[in-house]
Every structure is written in C-alpha cells, then in structure tokens.
C-alpha cells in the first residue's frame, strides 16, 4: 500500500486531498466562485474579455418564465438547455432537432424524442434548484448548440466533445479532450462514462485515452483510434484558457472549450474544481508541471506569452 503511494508520489500524481488543500483552498478564494459557478455570469465575463462563447438564446430565471420557453426557441432547430449553477454536467439537455411531424416535440442528442411538456418540466426542475450545487433556486440557460468540428467525428458517439485545459496561476498546465460515448449519454464528462484523451501541450496532438480510470487506445463505441488526432486552433485554445485566469482570478482553474466547425473554439464553461482524471488521460502527474510553473512564474506575462511558455515547457 505504502509502496503504491510512494510510486505515485514519485510519478508526481496529485491526489484529491492535496488538490483541495494546496491548490483549490489556497488559490481559489470562495468569493470568486460565483464567476464560474453561475454560467450566465461566466458567459458575460468571457464576452467582456473578448473571448468567444456560444450565443445565449435566453435565460429562464423563475418558474413563471418557464412557459416562455417555446418563444425563446421558436426559430431554433437545435439548442442546449443547462442549469446556470449545475455541476458535473448534470441537468444538461442537448436538443439537436425537432420531430418531423410535430414541431413541439424535440429530438435529443441521443435520438430520443421528448415532448415540450417534458422539457418544461425539466426547466422547472432546473429553476427549482434540483441541479444547483447548493439546492438553491437556479436559472436555466438556453444557448447555441455547438456543431463540432469534423476532426472528432470518428471518436465521439453523439454529443459534443470538448477540450479541458487545467490552468495553474494563468499558465496552461495540462489538457485533454473529452469524447462522449454511448454510456455517457452524449455528455463529455468523464465520471459519466466519457473517454478522456491526453493532449501533447506542444503540438496539440492527442494521446491515449482513459475510460473509467483505465487507459484505452480506441473509442469504445466507434472503435476508432483515439490517439494522434490534431486539435485544430490549438494555439488559440491555449491562449484563451490562459486568459481564463484574468477573467476569473482563479489560480487553479479548468477551462472547457468546444470547437465549432464554423466558429472555432468557444468557451463552454470554467471550473474551480477541475478533476484529476486528466492525469490518467495524459499518463503523467500534475505535481511536476505545477512546480515547473511556480519556478518560471512571471506575474507580468501576457496570456499569449504564458500559453507560449506552456507549449515550450510541456512538449512531450
């Protein structure tokens, strides 16, 4: 047991306890949490900083507004509904189209058709706070549904793959791409069964993937090789993530981006408590990279400079 712990320590693997006490509690002041916990606010902050985000179609802030939903999406074929304060991807519905015969029936990313009533019920659950972190009343966002870049077509099963970059004190430290599977119901969350694949920070090329804490070489549903994909707009993605530090002020930050085939990388959300599976996906521990960043930290470096440093330092 201690031998395993020692090996992990040597490999520089970051554990939950250490992440919580050394990084989250030290670098992420609680007062800044609303900036990332409320997706409406995050979106506004990102827009103000000139970062690209998916268009917001509408926000439902209370029970009374739930009935305005049909008006919000009246001209939209596809859209995403998410709770403003949800965590871990809970409560997100991806609508990819409408039923051929009935316009008030929606087709979800899974292919299932649901009625408008079910969507309204889901919205009132969101507003009631079922998915919010504290159980408080919440807001529901209805926004642009990303049409993902074809580079991921072979390695995702429905849903939208996204790129997660862990940013430490403004420097991108590690990245992975999260690929939805049948098991994850189209969601790009690793604990829901999505595949995570590490990314070579220098080149933006994917490495092997991880599924349920195990290393995998190919996608469980499509069978395509996960490794070796080139992430488009890689430099831009790193620079945008680095900018996330200025926007949120959080020293230990996870930035989630999607790559739209028309609009390029868009900031989906940011996370004050990014998970640790990214280490398994990359096959390396975070500790070494974090101490490297501490060594070269320069408070006056611009996001672009920091992204360049990360590409240079963490190339495999």
């Amino acid at each position: 047991m201690f031998a395993v712990a020692k090996k992990l320590r040597e490999a520089g693997v970051l554990g939950l306890n250490e992440r919580n006490s050394e990084f989250i509690m030290r670098l992420n002041p609680r007062s800044l949490y609303p900036r990332v916990d409320d997706k409406v606010l995050t979106k506004q902050l990102a827009l103000d900083a000139g970062m690209p985000v998916p268009d917001l179609y509408g926000v439902i802030t209370n029970q009374g507004e739930v009935s305005t939903f049909p008006d919000i999406v009246t001209n939209r074929e596809s859209f995403v509904i998410k709770p403003a304060q949800g965590s871990g991807g809970d409560g997100i519905i991806v609508v990819t189209g409408r039923s051929q015969r009935k316009r008030d029936c929606y087709r979800l990313s899974s292919g299932m058709i649901v009625s408008e009533g079910e969507i309204l019920y889901h919205l009132s659950n969101i507003v009631g706070g079922q998915y919010s972190l504290s159980g408080n009343p919440d807001k529901a966002l209805i926004e642009y549904c990303v049409r993902f870049d074809p580079v991921f077509a072979d390695v995702s099963y429905q849903g939208v793959p996204d790129v997660r970059v862990v940013v430490y004190r403004g420097y991108p430290a590690m990245a992975m791409v999260r690929l939805p599977t049948r098991a994850s119901d189209g969601k790009a969350n690793l604990h829901q069964g999505a595949v995570g694949a590490g990314i070579d920070m220098g080149t933006g090329r994917t490495l092997n993937g991880v599924l349920d804490d195990e290393v995998v070489e190919d996608h469980p549903d499509t069978g395509a090789l996960v490794a070796g994909l080139e992430i488009p707009h890689w430099t831009f993605i790193l620079e945008s993530s680095a900018k996330g530090y200025e926007v949120t002020g959080l020293g230990y930050l996870g930035v989630d981006m999607v790559i739209d085939r028309d609009r390029g990388p868009l900031i989906l959300e940011m996370n004050a408590r990014p998970g640790l599976n990214i280490q398994i996906a990359n096959g390396v521990g975070l500790t070494d990279r974090i101490s490297r960043i501490d060594a070269i930290y320069n408070a006056s470096a611009s996001p672009g400079e920091r992204a360049a440093v990360a590409r240079r330092e963490f190339q495999l």
Partner: protein, 506 residues
C-alpha cells in the same frame, strides 16, 4: 506557514485535552473503565449510657489521621444533643452535650472511608519523651529490662521488637513478671510497653484501630504499638513484636486516654459496627474533588440532571462518528451522500441495533425511492416533491411499525427513530444521482453511506469509548486535533491508489 499553525493548534489541543484528562484520572481518581466500583467501609460507633439527673457531656475520640484511608464523609446521629468536633491531645474528639435527658441514651458517630494508598502518616515528629517517674521497686525492674534490651538491639526498631519479645515471653524473667503483674487488658499491656520505651527515651504511643473486613456487627478496637524511629512512625504487633500493621487497619485514635468519657451518665458502652459497601468510583472521585475544592466536577457531566446526561451520552459520541467519517472520506475515500448523513444514520442505528437498522434503512430508502420515481411522473415542482417524499417517508415508517407490530416483531417499532428528514433527503439525492449518473453510481454512493454509517456505529458503540468520552469530555479536544490534522492531510486516499495505479507503473 499554515501547515505550522495547524500543527501548533493540534499540539495545543492535544496537550490541553490530555493534561486535563491525566489530572482527572491520576489526581482526582476518575475511573478509566466503566462500572468501576471501590469498596467503601462505613464504621459506626454507638455510645450507649444511662443518663444521670444533670447535664450530660459525651466526649468520644474520632479518627484524625488515617494512614491508608481517605475519608468520604462523616456525620453524627443524636437526637436533641448539641454536637461539636474539637481537637484534643489525642486528636479529634466528638462532643455531644445536652441539658437534660431521661433513661438510656445512644449517640452515634459514623464515618465512611475508602482505601487510598496515597494517604500516609503525616504526623509531626514527636519530642523525646521525658523519663517517666516510676516508683520502686518497679523503677529498678524498668532500668534492668531497658539496659538488657538495649544490649541486644541495634536501633529503635530492633529495640521495640526485642522489648515486645521479652514482654511476651511465655516464661518471663522476674522483672517482666513484676511489671506485668497488674496488667488486665491488652491496652494496658501496650501502655506498659510505651512506658518502657519512654524510659529508653524512645517516643511511642498506643494506637487503637479496627482491622476492616467485610461486615462486622460488633468490631473490637485493637491496640497497636506505634514507635517513632526519628524519621517515621513504625507499627509493631504488641503480641509478637513483628513490625507490621494488620491488613486494612483503620486507625481510630491514638494515646492512652480512654476512648469515651461521659459526664453525667453511667454504664457507658461503645459499640463499633462495620459495613462494607461498594460505591461507584465516580461518586468517590466527585467527593474527593469537592474536598480538594477542585472545580473539575462543577464542569463535569455527572453534575447535570440525569435526563440531560442521557442526551449528552449520545451527543458526545457524534464527534467520534465525525472522526470515522473524516477517515472514511478523506483518507479511505469512500463516496457518500451528504456530509453528516452517515453519522446521523449511525445514531439511529444505536436505537434500532445494527442488523435491524440496516434492514429498515435499506427498506425505507428502497420504498421511498420507488415512490419518488412515481412522483417523478407527476412532474411536481422541486419543493412540493421533496415535501411529498417526506410525507411518504413518515407514512412508510408508520406502515412498517404497524406491520411489524402485527407480526409480533417489536424491533420494527424502532424505525420511528430514524431521522426522517435525513432519509427524505437521501432518497431525493439518490434519485437525482440515479437519473443523472445511472443506477450504479447511485447505489455505490448509497452503499458508501451505509458502510460509513456502520463503521461510525461500531466505533460509537464501543462501551469503553463511550465511558471515556463521557467521563473525560476533554478527550474530544484530542479528537478535534485529529480532525484538524486530517484536514491538512494531503496524501493520497486509499481509493486513489487504485484509481491512479496505471500512472504509478508508467
């Protein structure tokens, strides 16, 4: 920096907690184990006499210094008498006085003591006694005997032993025979021995005590010889010269004065009765703390009303459960619903007992979950739905209680002890996780909660721990220190060792 504060705080808490604990344990004698009892002897002396026509004054020697024993309490029983305790030449004297009394009278003095090796003879060093004035021909006999014994002894103790051997010789020499000619009682015999020791300028006195053993209707005072060797008092068996005290010898009074004197009364008789009882060690410690004027007991849980004590007996175990919780979640890494739900479930298990607790809890959550899924179809708003789950849980409890009562299983009744709000929340949380992350995750976290609850229950149910925490609540500071330390534990969780295993090999 913060790390250092944490260590300092933890060390401080531990030191404070442990030192109060050690003080109460070692100095005040709080028992470490539950149900510890110590034998307590209650000695009652009854002075019987026939009253005369005038005022009556009764003086009785009562214990002053009691080597080997601590006094728990003492009181007198006497109707209509004035009572006072005075210091006389032979130690404390109880005094009863009354203007007028008719017929046979009895006054009682009662003292309760328990063995305490910490109490020793804390008497002053006596001066060398003056050479007693003795008339001829006894004087010559004393001189010859003392000179003879001194020849055959090395120090005070061997002098006393040799002297007693001579006095007890079955075929005594003429001098001894002469000295003992008028001796009628053992007390007088010991009196002669002290006179002889005084003639040799050795301080000595008669000590009267009761060897305590079990229950004695009428105990007799045993005279013993006490000799001071310049450093301490030594005890000699007057019948053998052996230097020893009888087992559990409780010293009543010292000196050659009579035990009791009654002015204005006749036919005086003193009876001693000994009763052995067992008293809770806590009660003894309580009395002792009161005598030492220590505030430890003013702040002890034992000074609270019994009902409140019962509440705290349970409440004080919550920190133990919380410690188990911290270890399970942060060091082992088991998933669970809610932060303290498992501890509260464990509290409920205390009432239902483990097996039934687990069965009832599982049953309740499973039933509640099915109802919750039915409610899901009705598309209720969040708060009304939670309330509906709550009401259903109450009804389910009622149903389980009634059914089990019908079937003659009284254990089912204890289902009412589950904190139903906690159960309702568990059902709600579990159903959300069930829908969002699938049945596997929900059941895993549910089982995790149950495992932690069982672990907490087991630790909270250890009788020794319960007693320790209740008697020494300051130990919770040590628990707090452990929790604070765990709060800065940055090592891996046990489950992470498995989770990141692939990285360790690479």
């Amino acid at each position: 920096m913060k790390q250092r504060y944490v260590y300092v705080l933890a060390a401080l808490l531990t030191v404070v907690g442990l030192s109060v604990f050690l003080y109460k344990w070692q100095v005040l004698g709080f028992p470490l184990g539950a149900d510890q009892e110590r034998p307590v002897w209650t000695i009652e002396s009854a002075v019987h006499f026939d009253s005369g026509p005038g005022t009556i004054k009764v003086q009785l020697h009562v214990p002053t210094l009691t080597p080997g024993f601590s006094v728990l309490n003492q009181y007198n029983v006497s109707r209509g008498y004035g009572f006072s305790l005075n210091y006389g030449s032979g130690g404390r004297e109880a005094q009863w006085t009354i203007r007028r009394a008719d017929g046979a009278q009895t006054v009682y003095y009662r003292i309760s003591v328990y063995e305490d090796a910490g109490v020793d003879e804390s008497d002053t060093i006596p001066p060398f006694p003056p050479r007693p004035v003795i008339n001829e021909p006894l004087n010559t006999a004393v001189d010859v005997l003392v000179a003879d014994v001194r020849e055959r002894s090395a120090d005070t103790s061997s002098f006393a032993t040799e002297l007693l051997r001579r006095l007890n010789d079955p075929s005594p020499d003429p001098n001894v025979e002469l000295l003992l000619s008028g001796v009628a009682s053992e007390t007088e015999f010991v009196g002669i021995a002290t006179t002889l020791l005084a003639a040799a300028r050795i301080p000595a006195r008669v000590v009267h005590g009761l060897p305590l053993s079990g229950r004695q209707r009428s105990a007799a005072l045993v005279p013993w010889l006490e000799v001071h060797d310049g450093d301490q008092w030594l005890y000699f068996n007057p019948a053998t010269g052996e230097q020893a005290l009888p087992e559990r010898f409780f010293v009543w009074w010292r000196g050659s004065e009579p035990l009791v004197s009654v002015e204005g009364g006749s036919n005086v008789r003193v009876d001693f009765a000994v009763q052995q009882t067992h008293l809770d060690a806590i009660a003894i410690a309580e009395t002792q703390a009161a005598q030492q004027d220590s505030s430890a007991f003013d702040f002890s849980l034992y000074s609270l009303p019994i009902r409140t004590q019962a509440v705290y007996a349970v409440l004080l175990m919550i920190p133990i459960g919380a410690l188990v919780m911290v270890v399970m979640r942060n060091i082992v890494g088991i998933d669970a619903f809610g932060t303290f739900m498992p501890v509260l479930i464990a509290l409920a298990f205390r009432e239902t007992k483990l097996v039934w607790g687990v069965i009832l809890f599982t049953l309740l959550v499973a039933l509640g979950l099915s109802i919750r899924f039915l409610l899901e179809r009705l598309r209720l708003l969040l708060v009304p739905r939670l309330s509906a789950v709550l009401i259903v849980v109450v009804l389910l409890m009622l149903f389980i209680s009634l059914t089990s009562h019908r079937l003659g299983m009284e254990t089912g009744l204890s289902v009412a002890l589950f904190p139903m709000v906690i159960i309702a929340m568990t059902i709600e949380r579990m159903s959300v996780v069930w829908e969002e992350r699938g049945a596997a995750d929900a059941i895993r976290a549910g089982l995790g909660s149950l495992v932690i609850a069982v672990g907490a229950y087991i630790f909270m149910g250890i009788a020794a721990v319960e007693h320790l925490v209740f008697t020494f609540p300051e130990l919770l500071l040590v628990v707090l220190a452990l929790v604070v330390l765990a709060g800065r534990y940055t090592g891996y969780r046990l489950t992470e060792l498995k989770r990141f295993k692939a990285l360790g090999n690479g």
